[in-house]
């Protein structure tokens, strides 16, 4: 295999994996705090639509990115109000949020279908981008890709080294105890949910402003769901989320590349890979004895009622 091709495949892998990295990191924080938000797909689409509309109206890509994050934030606020404050069932609320987001984004975006914009362009980092292979693979992306790495590094540090990281985990493992030692469970959960929303919105913005600069209904094509599976696949570890997202990304483009090279592999087989991997991990996790080892937040999905 020649080196140019390899470079291009790796480059495309990172590009394909980026929306998954963003969504999954957001969802990871959310789940670490014990909240299962199945509304990812809806929040991503709202982010994509809002970001695109704002960019078309104002002409500014960065305002668009900001609006995308705000849209995700707003959606997750809605989720937080229902699932945290009103203690509604998290699964049902999340699913409702997805359905709501798909519909609302389609409604808002109707007039913007078929509008073309100049997307966020690549930012080649001086010096680094001229390195052979690595320069092209790692340092010639658009700024949102670098941002995703920054967020990854921050979260990695946060969960390893900081009190905040510990607090989030405590709230997700055992909210009653966390409350007893004076942690503000509701506040932490709200914060985590809002962070997840902003990240999903950002992923939406990445799709509609950088990856494929267009808006059309349902353009996230199920990435919100894949990211949910990815968090489980990564067994709630930040570094595995990054790795997993790029693995999923590679799996989803590999069949295209192989076809281009003239190999005949069943495309169906390769598109199944991410899902098979997830099912296997789910099967392992469902075995109770090793559940603890695999990091599942113990209070995941359980609503918390503050004691008076």
């Amino acid at each position: 295999m020649d080196i140019d091709l390899l470079t291009n495949i790796l480059f495309a892998t990172i590009r394909t994996g980026t929306p998954l990295v963003l969504i999954a990191l957001g969802e990871l924080v959310c789940e670490k705090a014990g909240v299962l938000n199945l509304g990812q797909e809806g929040m991503v689409l709202m982010g994509a639509a809002t970001g695109f509309i704002i960019t078309v109206v104002t002409g500014s890509l960065w305002l668009g990115v900001g609006a995308a994050m705000l849209a995700g934030l707003f959606m997750s606020l809605l989720f937080g109000f229902l699932a945290i404050s009103l203690v509604a069932n998290q699964v049902a609320t999340g699913l409702a949020l997805t359905i709501f987001g798909i519909g609302l984004s389609a409604f808002l975006g109707t007039e913007y279908v078929g509008v073309g914009i100049e997307g966020i362009s690549q930012l080649e980092i001086p010096l680094l981008s001229s390195l052979p292979v690595i320069g092209k693979v790692l340092f010639s992306h658009d700024p949102l890709v670098y941002l995703s790495w920054g967020i990854f590094a921050a979260l990695y540090f946060c969960f390893r080294r900081t009190r905040l990281g510990l607090t989030i985990r405590a709230v997700g493992e055992n909210p009653e105890s966390a409350n007893a030692i004076g942690m503000r469970v509701m506040l932490v959960r709200y914060g985590a949910v809002l962070f997840g929303g902003a990240m999903a919105g950002l992923a939406g913005g990445y799709l509609s402003l950088a990856y494929t600069p267009l808006w059309s209904e349902g353009m996230s094509a199920g990435r919100g769901w894949i990211a949910l599976a990815l968090v489980v696949f990564a067994s709630w570890k930040v570094e595995r989320v990054l790795l997993g997202a790029y693995l999923f990304g590679a799996a989803s483009i590999m069949h295209l590349v192989l076809q281009g090279l003239g190999f005949s592999v069943s495309p169906n087989l390769l598109s199944m890979l991410p899902y098979i991997a997830t099912i296997v991990v789910l099967m392992i996790i469902s075995n109770d004895t090793i559940k603890a080892k695999l990091n599942t937040p113990l209070a995941l999905g359980q609503p918390y009622r503050p004691q008076i």
Partner: protein
């Protein structure tokens, strides 16, 4: 006082609704079931444009309604039955997967007329219709073959079913006619609609030297990618020049309007019957979008003359000799492919690169 007001209001409401009902009773109610959103700039969009066309042409005689993004399967049956129960007398179901649900509902509502796009099952009150989109594909192939410098064309395809294979072959036929040295590379994305995957497929093809791309998927991502990478592209379903003014050479577009108008008229005058329609370029139901201004006049006139010959029936797209990939003559000179052969197209003609995946 307030009681009287209420009574008055109630009467007014009754009257208003009564008038409304009587006005609507005279209209022919036509229902449409769409598989995607009307704003997809592709397949469903082309059907919705045709719906508006019928409403405008038969203003005052028909009212139309539609249900969009209806998943193929059990849900479709519910939607179709609901439309029939609500008094729609003519119902168009516009995706292949609606075939069995439509047939089922048609049995339950013998007085309602059903028209199903792209299917092959008919009944007493259910007809089918389809456009010969491969004719426009062939014409777009002529443009692509004349435009390419690398003699490599890229085709982003969805699923290896006869409809898609037929399009690839027709495109290749056009390309080879004007440029025997060229070959067509196909990448299957296993999805009708996933802009990101379509983009990756387009980039893969560009890496393999393709400098004119086309697609049989539903988004405009391929056009956008071509525009960004400085190569050419040909749209499908509808004119996609809005996504890439420089890249967009033309597009193979569907115009369902004439079919829908005819069907509505035949129901209005009582001559409707269930039939299997497969109309082509001579009825104006498949066509090319306006050519890019960068296309030379010589190519334009070639396309025009071929289009005229297709319309008059002087030529057909798959006139012999048609060879398969191994070079074996499948259709001898002087013959042409029959409609049955076209419907079951499951092999590549000479000039397509790579192997056809088994469906």
């Amino acid at each position: 006082m307030s009681h009287r007001l209420l009574v008055k209001l109630a009467i007014a409401c009754l009257l208003a609704s009564g008038i409304n009902l009587s006005a609507k009773a005279a209209d022919l109610k036509i229902g449409f079931v769409y598989v995607g959103p009307t704003g997809d700039a592709g397949w469903t969009y082309s059907h919705d444009e045709a719906r508006k066309y019928v409403e405008q042409q038969l203003a005052g005689k028909v009212t139309t309604s539609y249900v969009e993004s209806v998943p193929e399967g059990a849900d479709a049956e519910r939607v179709i039955r609901q439309l029939a129960a609500k008094g729609h007398e003519l119902i168009f179901t516009t995706s292949f997967g609606y075939m069995n649900p439509t047939l089922k509902v048609a049995k339950r509502f013998p007085k309602v007329k059903f028209e199903h796009a792209t299917g092959y099952k008919q009944s007493k009150n259910m007809g089918t219709y389809m456009v010969r989109a491969y004719q426009a594909r062939y014409l777009s192939g002529l443009v692509a073959g004349k435009t390419t410098k690398t003699n490599t064309l890229g085709y982003v395809a969805s699923f290896p079913i006869p409809e898609v294979v037929r399009g690839i072959n027709a495109f290749t036929k056009g390309v080879k006619e004007v440029n025997p040295a060229a070959k067509v590379k196909v990448v299957w994305v296993s999805s009708w609609y996933d802009p990101a995957k379509e983009r990756e497929a387009a980039e893969t093809l560009i890496l393999q030297d393709a400098d004119v791309l086309t697609q049989h998927t539903d988004s405009a991502a391929v056009i956008q990618t071509a525009e960004a990478k400085g190569v050419y592209a040909i749209g499908y379903h509808s004119d996609m020049s809005g996504y890439g003014a420089n890249a967009h050479l033309t597009a193979a577009v569907h115009k369902w309007g004439p079919i829908y108008l005819e069907k509505a008229k035949s129901v209005l005058d009582g001559t409707w019957k269930a039939e299997d329609l497969w109309l082509g370029i001579e009825h104006g139901v498949t066509d090319l979008a306006p050519l890019n201004k960068s296309v030379p006049d010589e190519v334009k006139s070639l396309v025009e003359s071929k289009k005229a010959a297709l319309k008059s029936g002087d030529i057909r797209v798959f006139d012999g000799p048609v060879r398969d990939q191994s070079g074996t003559v499948k259709i001898v000179e002087g013959e042409t492919m029959s409609d049955d052969q076209l419907r079951g197209f499951n092999w590549y003609i000479e000039g397509v690169d790579g192997q056809l995946p088994k469906s």
